[in-house]
């Protein structure tokens, strides 16, 4: 397993409160790493620090070679990674295709050209929303808006994709489709780091898992080593059992006994 980059000894304080405490996390290259934890654990903050959107109080980012990750301005960061935050309504109602092309700002000088249009249409096609290209963004459903935000990231050529809860607004069919798209990107050699809440989808989605709770890293590593009932119980306080589906997949079953009593 090759490491793409690492966040080392990251601590973050906001208004005197420690929200991330000495977190060290290595992100494996060409894999899907899922960051999990209860609400308010610090997942989004950690993603922002790893995406260079937020400067930590302490700690540093290191590249694969063990040297500090020296990226200067926003453009250099944008060439290194794409970041998809939670979706939001826009003040001006741009067309979907225009918004997706904006994701390639760091790749072109001035205005987007034919290459940007082609890459943007391809990203929309991958996500199965090419038919929405001329629709206005604000007229779309939350789920469709999320897909457009993801398409904007995919349209870029950056080797690292960081997504903050990309499945949150998607129906089950769209979730499965997005999982496939992310897997295809990994096969192309890109690295995906995302935060997620749904424990049940981890067996089919993740290669590596990192658990975070109250701003501290509980465990991180390959899914087989980390995504185990004892750690899940430690982080989320729920009892789970791993089962084997007749077709071979691993399934997660929540023990409902505590709740039934």
């Amino acid at each position: 397993m090759t490491t793409l980059f690492s966040g080392l000894e990251i601590s973050l304080k906001i208004a005197g409160k420690t929200l991330l405490n000495n977190v060290s996390l290595a992100i494996p290259a060409a894999q899907i790493t899922v960051l999990m934890g209860p609400n308010g654990a610090g997942k989004t903050l950690l993603l922002k620090v790893l995406a260079g959107m937020l400067s930590p109080h302490e700690g540093r980012l290191e590249g694969a070679d063990g040297l500090p990750l020296l990226l200067g301005d926003e453009k250099e960061w944008a060439l290194w990674r794409t970041w998809v935050p939670s979706s939001q309504t826009l003040p001006f109602d741009f067309k979907v295709i225009d918004l997706v092309q904006m994701g390639r700002l760091s790749l072109h000088q001035g205005f987007p050209g034919a290459t940007d249009l082609k890459a943007s249409l391809e990203a929309l096609r991958k996500l199965g929303i090419e038919h929405l290209k001329d629709r206005s963004f604000n007229s779309l459903s939350r789920g469709e808006q999320t897909k457009v935000d993801i398409a904007r990231a995919i349209a870029h050529t950056a080797s690292l994709l960081i997504l903050d809860e990309p499945f949150a607004n998607l129906d089950i069919d769209s979730q499965l489709h997005l999982s496939k798209v992310l897997r295809s990107l990994v096969k192309e050699g890109r690295t995906v780091l995302l935060s997620h809440h749904d424990l049940y989808s981890i067996p089919r989605l993740a290669d590596s898992v990192a658990f975070i709770k109250q701003g501290q890293l509980i465990a991180a590593g390959p899914k087989a080593d980390v995504f185990i009932p004892s750690l899940i119980h430690q982080v989320f306080g729920v009892q789970v059992t791993m089962c084997q589906h007749p077709k071979g997949q691993t399934l997660l079953v929540t023990d409902m006994q505590d709740m039934m009593e």
Partner: protein, 330 residues
Amino acid sequence: MNRVQSHAGLCVALFVLSFFLCWSFGGIEAYPWELLHPSHQSQSYILLFIRLPRIVCACLVGAALGAAGVLTQGLFRNPLASPSLLGISSGGVLGACLALFLGFESWNNWLHPLCAFLGCFLSLLCVLSMSRRIQAYATEDLLLIGFALNGILSAASSLLLSIALHEPNKSASIMNWMLGTLSGKTWNHNMFAVLPIAIALLAAWRLAYPLNVLALGAENACSVGLNIATVRRQGMLVIALLVTVSVTLGGLLPFVGLIVPHVSRLLVGPDHRKLLPLSALNGATLVMSSDLVARTLIAPLEIQVGALISLFGSPFFLWLYFQERRKTQR
């Protein structure tokens, strides 16, 4: 021809029509075609040295305010924002009022616009110094700074007016400036304004696509590689330059920078690359046409064009607002 092109064509036609109407009508009968066979020298003089410079001045002021409105709304990601929110217009008006109050006009004709110019730039410096750590400030903070500054400067202008009330000439002049007027503008005024406005419009054009990206929100825009602090600083400087020149020429015309971008956006959509030139054109048409009404409605008396624009602009804007609301509720 698509929808955007046909709307843009309509705006160009409206501009040309307004231009010829404005050139043809005024307090005294004189028509542009009479220049081909001039019968009275006074008519040529009125057409070329009184009416035409005033129309060109209206176009420059309107174009500057239209473009400044687009930039302000784009920069603050708010379709209801206006350049006067930054307090720069009020700074210019205060400078002009101060010049009138102290009687600088009697020393030199250029001192008056120069004071307006200084007022704009001092208020800009105030905004810039307060938002020096611009990266740490949210857009809302900047709006609040502008709002507070605007309030202080407007109050100072009103104070000057109230002190000057016992001198009818001074108070009338201050009132003119506060309400906005294009009366008495000459080719000299236009020569002073055309270069800074051209430079500012070119700079605004360079900011058009970054402003599109900024519409994604600060976090999204930053993540795709936009240097937000630079765009904000450049945007503010361009807005300041445009508003400075327009205030120096025509006084306070607060509604143009608010309503023109809004209407233009309904016609060509939110893309700033189309919106900026169209808003400049529509701003010119609006100020030029309003000035025609202002100088002909109760001729030979004139209405202050700023007051007139506010009078019909406010209900029009409210109508548009409710149309938008109805559309989103469907």
